[in-house]
Symmetry: C2
Subunit: 305 residues, 2 copies
């Protein structure tokens, strides 16, 4: 079903980070993280990926190699004087929300432009960065067939106007449940989803962590549970890995039908389930398509009645 | 698919209450409530129901009539001198958990025995009461083909030994996610479910409110989302309505197979979705099987991929 010859290129713009993460399962210090990182490693399982991001001079070469091993085009990833964006977070027993201990923008303030040869990208993922950078990146792509974006509470609060402008230009909005509620002021999730559709995107995807994913497209709702795991080690990057699996699968589809969008959601959920099994990108960077396919089939058995 | 001639009798033991409920959508004062109430009204859509409960002299006759209109056998529902069990609760914007403002056991302290003609009941639902009453009721039934029970944080905390004894005697345990975590000390839900199976029940069902239901039976997991509603008016009774739809459907099945258990879960979720659309039993007491069937089919469309 995955047709390698017809795979379209995906451009992702977002952060590459050095994360320090504490969870009830342990701690990882200055490990590879960032929205573009998780997305790129996940999507590159399915299709060619091009990254736009920025790191500092302290960024370890061995992390760059992880992208190259997956044949990710890193021409759009600039190395600037200064330090790499860093985040230090902690998860308590309830793994659904991180507590930020510290966050340093560092070189992320100087977001680079898009290399000329990226302009023919067919799919675009505007991972969580400020909406002005997201729009600027989008304008550099000539004729994308599909544009998806993510956002976060910070931009909803500080840049609502720029964010609403962006939403009119994207096909798919991916948010988590808290963001969906915050963006619309509606506590009821199905109602929040309908309100989000009025902002422009034809498709809205709400990521609910351990409770799965909720999709609305073409007037139809689709819901899928999370892949059941007996232990979550580190939930960081689950949302961006989901997006990577989701758009990666769609990049392999000849035609994007509502059925393919549903299947893409399940592929996204499956890829995310691997990510959270270990700290940072450790598990994600090792997975293979047959492993993904196996969990996809398990999901099929898990929901049928 | 529902074969009326073969429907088995269901016995339920649990509370009948006068509830005062406050939600962001309004307030209802001294309205019909209680675990046995919601269960019986839901299950009686599918099969004959027999109730064991107790009310006080203040219990309005018009509420009794609601049971009789659904041909529920109320011979086991005693009227005792004193006041009916009452609960006053409040839900905030997040409808997932109620805050108890006051609770008065009243006549519920004097739980009645089981009428002799109930002893041939085929299905038994031990709704949320203390585990000693639940076991005593169970012993009055000669040869039940299926026994399900619910419980709550109060009994998990105050009567853990009696509860564990009960769990060895039931086929199906229904709990909500917080109770599953509390009973097992495990925060990860799939892991908590496996731990619950070790206590005795062959089937464990975890109700997750707006996030749907999680089932484990015969070594297989099944997950289904909640029916998506644009407005929840009052979540009280959702869990017992779920149990009523679930066991009601199973009472119509000639043979209880894993596939029928999955379908029963979906019928339970659908019946619960009606309950929460209005205060008390107002919506539940008006629904018809064709309405239930319509939402069942919608659920089927909502999860397929």
């Amino acid at each position: 079903m995955l047709t390698p010859l017809k795979r379209k290129s995906i451009l992702v713009v977002g952060s590459v980070a050095l994360d320090t993460v504490e969870t009830p399962r342990g701690k990882a210090t200055r490990v590879l993280g960032g929205s573009a990182t998780y997305f790129a490693l996940a999507a590159s399982l399915f299709a060619p990926v091009r990254m736009v991001s920025v790191v500092g001079e302290d960024f370890p070469r061995r992390y760059l190699n992880k992208f190259r091993q997956r044949r990710i085009d890193t021409a759009g990833m600039k190395v600037l004087p200064g330090r790499t964006f860093s985040w230090h977070g902690r998860y308590r027993e309830n793994m659904n929300e991180a507590e930020t201990i510290s966050v340093c923008q560092n070189v992320l303030r100087h977001f680079p432009g898009v290399p000329a040869h990226y302009s023919d990208s067919r799919l675009v993922f505007l991972a969580n960065t400020d909406p002005i950078t997201q729009r600027k990146t989008l304008k550099s792509v000539q004729a994308p067939s599909l544009v998806a974006c993510d956002t976060m509470n910070l931009w909803i609060r500080t840049q609502p106007a720029a964010l609403k402008k962006l939403l009119r230009e994207v096909d798919i909005l991916l948010v988590n449940d808290a963001e969906a509620r915050m963006l619309t002021g509606r506590n009821n999730l199905p109602s929040a989803v309908w309100a989000l559709l009025e902002h422009g995107p034809k498709t809205v995807i709400v990521k609910k962590g351990e409770h799965g994913v909720f999709l609305c497209t073409g007037g139809e709702l689709f819901a899928v549970p999370a892949y059941p795991l007996h232990q979550v080690v580190d939930p960081t990057g689950a949302g961006d890995s989901f997006a990577g699996g989701f758009l990666g699968y769609l990049a392999c589809c000849r035609k994007i039908t509502p059925r393919q969008v549903r299947r893409a959601v399940v592929y996204g959920a499956v890829v995310a389930s691997f990510t959270v099994e270990d700290f940072s990108t450790r598990r994600l960077e090792k997975i293979s398509l047959p492993e993904v396919e196996k969990r996809f089939q398990e999901m099929k058995r898990m929901v049928r009645f």
